[in-house]
């Protein structure tokens, strides 16, 4: 399979890339889950002042829940379709050739 040859020309490069890919979704997901929890908790207890300022919209609660949802989505995405294992030499690239999962996340 010609794809395989093209892909295996730089094992090193792809493994470090995979390790980093693993990170970006976890970083976004992690930060947004933390933001979401903090902001929606604050929003649940917002006083009249905060509500008046935001034209009666409980914006902290809604924004917090939305951020939480986005964060969870990224974590789930990363969990369902994990990046290639950075440590093992032989398995790197297997997932690509098997066509498993969403190739766009690697």
């Amino acid at each position: 399979m010609s794809d395989e040859e093209l892909l295996s020309d730089s094992e090193e490069e792809r493994r470090s890339a995979a390790a980093r890919m693993f990170d970006v979704r976890r970083v976004i997901g992690g930060l947004f889950v933390v933001y979401g929890v903090i902001v929606s908790l604050v929003g649940a207890f917002d006083g009249a002042g905060a509500l008046d300022k935001a034209q009666g919209v409980r914006i902290n609660l809604w924004a917090g829940l939305a951020m939480l949802a986005v964060g969870v989505l990224f974590l789930v995405w990363q969990w369902i379709s994990p990046a290639e294992a950075p440590a093992s030499d032989d398995s790197a690239g297997d997932a690509v050739e098997n066509g498993e999962g969403d190739a766009s996340v690697r």
Binding site: E12, S16, V39, A54, Q55, N98
Partner: protein, 551 residues
């Protein structure tokens, strides 16, 4: 409320801000461990998937000037500001992805100047590398200055402290993690910016009674009915932007926009770090979709500000148009989302500056140092030079921030920079990529003469010798004259010289073959929804469609 711009941040907002910076620096350290080669440092190992590079592509443009400036334009000109997105960005991004990217990515160049070296000669290469490095430093200074202005206004930090703190943070994460860190943070910033801006639009619209309420109120404001149309009355210059449709289509939509999006290495670099040809071509196309929608978060808040903030549009002080977004944050956001919005704004300033600095360090290291100063050293050596260039670039950026501080309108300053640096480069590219008979000497001399003409136009205008009505008119004419100069010089000189043989131009010039669009495909790239033509076509159709309700 005293009308001042100071935001009332509390411990909660500062916690959210601090969490962001801890995360950003954490990414830098994590990325550092993954860096093994200089390609890793400068181009992220050419390994990133298209959605990451696409979001980084749009985020690199979503800097300080973009958000603050476009909201200000939204307040000042209304709906016509959407021209900067729907005709001034999307067509150029689609052109880059479909037509130009095969030459950039396929020729395996690491930078825009390197393309010029292979297509023309080392003189054209060195000229462009130097002007690019200078332009990036000047623009980095503008971004840094804008960041400092807002820190000063929002948090009460003195200007010089804000400049130095901003520079220190950008320095830390780029120099530690290289481009990977910059790109990852751009993706992260993209989401934080959205999280910060969306609540402003939502609460603002609630306040004015939805989109219909907003349009009714704009009709009654000084902006009036004209502020609600994009193309009406563009047969003359009797419209808020003062622009004829020819000027909008050719000046903004073609010369300025194509020049910016297709030759600005800070942007193109994002696509070069994609993992294969398909992902590289999809990078600007994926970026076009968020770009289509960003007016909702910049132009609409600008219009909300003009109808809700009494007296907005003052010549100076806190009520200048530039403060539209900060004023809405002050008026509408309670602590919590306020902290997110401040974080998003600071993230966007850093995105712009980081894009300039990472573009600068790549071109400095590969195109100037490695090519002309110290050849054939080890990879480690060039990574070290890249880190030193980053530090040097940021120090120079602090200096140019103080230059930018000397201009009363930084948006005009930056437009002038674009007309001088990008328009001649784009013209040279477009001729060189499509006309194989253009000679190497023609490449160098047309680029040089175009740059000189644009610079001379600007300097003569500043000196009062050329009586343009507005700065915007000057940058359009400067860009247009530079474009024509390049075309004329290129055609005349090419008649007298010997073009390079076809064999040397394969993969660099259209019609000679040598560009392999399919060679490096991986599983999934053949899917119909990843076709560049389809993605580009839909983006163009949407940009037309979006104009219809606001014709």
């Amino acid at each position: 409320m005293d009308g001042g711009l100071r935001l009332d941040l509390n411990w909660l907002d500062y916690t959210l801000l601090a969490l962001y910076f801890v995360t950003v620096l954490g990414v830098g350290f994590a990325a550092r461990r993954a860096i093994k080669t200089s390609v890793d440092f400068f181009l992220s190992g050419r390994s990133l998937p298209a959605w990451v590079t696409g979001l980084a592509f749009v985020s690199a443009n979503l800097g300080a000037l973009e958000i603050i400036g476009m909201a200000a334009n939204g307040a000042q000109y209304g709906i016509m500001t959407t021209h900067y997105y729907w005709i001034g960005a999307v067509p150029a991004m689609v052109f880059l992805g479909i037509v130009m990217m095969p030459f950039y990515y396929g020729s395996k160049v690491r930078s825009v100047p390197e393309y010029l070296r292979r297509r023309f000669n080392t003189k054209a290469h060195l000229l462009n590398a130097i002007t690019f490095a200078v332009a990036q430093m000047l623009i980095a200074g503008v971004n840094l200055y804008a960041l400092a202005l807002v820190l000063d206004a929002l948090l009460g930090w003195p200007l010089w402290i804000s400049i130095i703190v901003g520079a220190a943070i950008v320095l830390t994460y780029i120099s530690i993690g290289g481009l990977t860190s910059a790109i990852y943070n751009e993706v992260l910033q993209f989401f934080v910016i959205l999280a910060g801006l969306i609540p402003i639009t939502v609460i603002g619209l609630v306040k004015v009674g939805g989109i219909n309420g907003l349009f009714d109120k704009v009709r009654d404001s000084d902006l009036g009915e004209a502020g609600l149309h994009a193309w009406a009355n563009t047969g003359s210059s009797d419209n808020p932007l003062g622009a004829h449709w020819l000027g909008i289509v050719f000046g903004l939509g073609f010369v300025l926009s194509f020049g910016y999006w297709t030759t600005n290495f800070a942007e193109v670099q994002r696509a070069l770090s994609a993992r294969n040809m398909s992902a590289a071509r999809r990078t600007p196309l994926i970026a076009a979709y968020p770009k289509l929608l960003i007016p909702l978060l910049t132009v609409i808040p600008g219009m909300i500000a003009v109808v809700t903030v009494q007296g907005l549009g003052a010549d100076e002080g806190d009520l200048v148009y530039n403060n539209a977004i900060p004023l809405l944050m002050r008026d509408l956001l309670p602590n919590g989302v306020l902290g997110i919005a401040v974080t998003g704004l600071m993230a966007s300033f850093m995105a712009g500056m980081a894009a300039n600095v990472s573009g600068f360090n790549t071109v400095f290291t590969y195109d100037i140092w490695q090519t002309y100063v110290r050849k054939e050293r080890s990879d480690d050596y060039y990574i070290r030079i890249g880190r030193i260039a980053t530090i040097g670039g940021i120090v120079v950026g602090i200096g140019t921030a103080f230059i930018a501080a000397g201009f009363s309108n930084i948006m005009n300053y930056i437009q002038a920079l674009f007309s001088v640096f990008n328009a001649p480069l784009f013209a040279t590219f477009i001729v060189g990529m499509f006309w194989k008979r253009m000679t190497a000497a023609a490449g160098f001399w047309s680029l040089l003469s175009g740059t000189v003409v644009a610079l001379a136009t600007y300097l003569l205008y500043l000196g009062g010798a050329l009586p343009f009505d507005t700065d915007l008119e000057e940058s359009f004419w400067g860009a247009g004259l530079a474009f024509v100069t390049v075309l004329v010089v290129a055609f005349v000189l090419s008649r007298f010289g010997q073009p390079k043989p076809d064999s040397e131009l394969r993969g660099l010039v259209r019609g000679l073959g040598g560009v392999d669009l399919k060679g490096d495909v991986i599983a999934g790239d053949a899917a119909w929804y990843r076709s560049p033509l389809l993605l580009g076509g839909i983006a163009l159709a949407l940009s037309l469609l979006f104009y219809i309700p606001v014709w």
